[in-house]
Symmetry: C2
Subunit: 345 residues, 2 copies
DNA sequence: CTGAAAGCGCTTACAG
DNA sequence: CTGAAAGCGCTTACAG
């Protein structure tokens, strides 16, 4: 099947190619009657303007890029990224922008792809995930002048806008809730230590524990896999003064932690309380269902996409956006600590 | 920053634009020495050819499309799609093809996007997921002449190649394993009934149960969510002659089923054996870890991508590929049925 | 082996 | 309000 071009539409409508272009793009230059006739003909013969030709003349690819630099394993198992992508998509497809996705091994590969995309003019802008402390990607994107919105923060992202959520506040709320239940030995299994949000949560955790007078707060790092969540949990539960509550930095590790507790003969929540970050359907799948800290991730992705489109189309650099703070949803995995534990620590 | 064009490279190399093009694309027409000099200059000034200009003249976008028509909820929670995408990516990025991803609500939206992509020449070909019985997408893609590889089968996909796995054989193996353990009342919680692989597994299940003389084989359908998996399990476990083993069509429902069993006071595997399809890290996360039927999904995606690139570049339509058959990995969730149950049914 | 030129299908000033 | 034309940055026959 031969693809119709703008010339085909012009010929059938008896107008110039320019007129068709104006009609399609909603620009002045054609009468309303002509516009309607052109639109009808375009629809009839199934014409869509070539994205390549459009990009070449208009200099806009109508595509944005998203790079994921995580191993396939953790990518698949964490609902976070797919939910984020769904939200991004909803925003993009409403404006018929395409999403170009790439999975890479590490940050340097990611930077190489940004450079290539920029050279190829393949995307009009990018969404940057997994913001790191002193992130190397930020200066590169600034130098290239490739519009970008950083997902994560708060942080100094220079000229790049960011969309972020107040994780420190959410963490405070969580620890205070556990404290109110009577917990005095609270541990946290954190995520990848070089991710900014891990650093932010770790600092908040340390501060709130100090404020509440919890001397024995413990933080360990992990890579978000179930294996590391299980290993960290075994270590915590085998220690002399084992914690009565554990906060995990993702849902997967929390579920792994629940299994380890069961395996070690500890009842949840009678002997151990468990809190998952990144609330997701996974948390409601297990028994008992997990108390979790969460927020609307598709909406988060949508907000980031909207900021990016604004940066691309509006010209004016958006200033960034503080998204909703995650909130705690208590379920069956948290309760008071075992009797006799309540005042120790 | 101004993006370098082929003219910049040509000027600095003291050759024509044509020569630069030949050098970059590994075509004859330039001497080896000149080619090396051109390549060095291109690398030095960070030149990547504009994908739009390339697509416009060469008629190849160097991008393939993938559409997911599932609600955000199930997309996020099932590791399958992300693993598939990872595998596709690995194959594509090795040849510097881009992946254009779109999430849509239903099949008619999906078909509309195919038509638009075709008109826009945005992608050189597409990967078709979730093959259905009498799939409406197949004739549309054939009519458009858009290269496509169907993920799933075996089925009559006309001129489209497909990559598939023998699910019937894997289901046989699973039922025979449960039969050998002594199970005589085996139930199956199937996936979306209009998906081809659900139909194939359902038929295989019915046939193997007949062959083994298991009269009371039960099949229910679901939408792959934990909620439906839990509901189906409650129904099964509340029935007068409850099954002693249940096979679930995905990992998420199997985990939900495990929780329901625990909630209803049944021990797994002492009172109930559970098998998950789509083995994934989730299956090893719970306690007991789930016996599961699985295979290498990233490899599956990679094979599909390779077939598609062959269809796009080779010209000759690939004939399709039978991928590895899924195999059963016994873990802690399966065992003999309760004493006294072994000969009933 | 190399250079000059046409052409891909749009968009957008520029004249009428 | 409309038409003719240049130009985006490549690729690829076509001459030399």
């Amino acid at each position: 099947m031969k693809r119709p071009t703008i010339a085909d539409v012009a010929r059938r409508a008896g107008v110039s190619k320019g007129a068709v272009s104006y009609a399609l793009n909603g620009q002045p230059g054609v009468s309303e009657a002509t516009r309607q006739r052109i639109l009808a003909i375009a629809a009839e013969i199934g014409f869509s303007p070539s994205s390549a030709a459009r990009a070449l003349s208009g200099a806009t690819a109508r595509a944005i890029g998203l790079i994921l630099a995580r191993p396939a394993q953790t990518l698949g198992i964490e609902p976070f990224f797919m939910e984020l992508i769904s939200g991004v998509e909803a925003e993009l497809s409403a404006r018929s922008y395409a999403l170009t996705l790439q999975v890479v091994a590490d940050t340097s590969a990611e930077i190489a792809v940004y450079r290539r995309w920029w050279g190829e003019r393949r995307v009009d802008g990018v969404l940057v995930c997994d913001l790191r402390v002193a992130d190397q990607r930020v200066p590169v994107l600034e130098e290239l002048g490739l519009p970008a919105v950083v997902i994560g923060g708060p942080a100094d992202t220079g000229r790049l806008a960011s969309v972020w959520s107040n994780d420190a506040a959410a963490l405070d709320e969580t620890v205070e809730y556990l404290y109110a239940l009577g917990h005095r030995r609270i541990a946290r299994v954190g995520g990848l230590p070089d991710l900014l949000h891990t650093a932010i949560r770790t600092r908040a955790f340390t501060e709130v524990c100090q404020r509440l007078g919890l001397a024995e707060s413990i933080v360990t790092s992990s890579d978000y896999t179930g294996e590391e969540g299980a290993r960290a949990t075994r270590r915590l539960l085998s220690s002399r003064l084992r914690p009565t509550a554990v906060i995990y930095d993702n849902d997967v590790m929390a579920i792994a932690g629940l299994s380890v507790a069961q395996e070690m003969g500890l009842a949840v929540p009678a002997d151990l309380s468990i809190v998952a970050w990144d609330d997701s359907p996974l948390c409601r799948l297990v028994h008992p269902p997990l108390t979790a800290v969460g927020r609307d991730i598709p909406a988060y992705g949508g907000h980031a996409a909207r900021q990016l489109l604004q940066a691309i189309e509006g010209g004016a650099a958006p200033t960034g956006l503080q998204d909703e703070t995650a909130h705690l949803t208590p379920r069956g995995s948290t309760g008071p600590p075992p009797a006799g534990e309540q005042r120790s620590g």
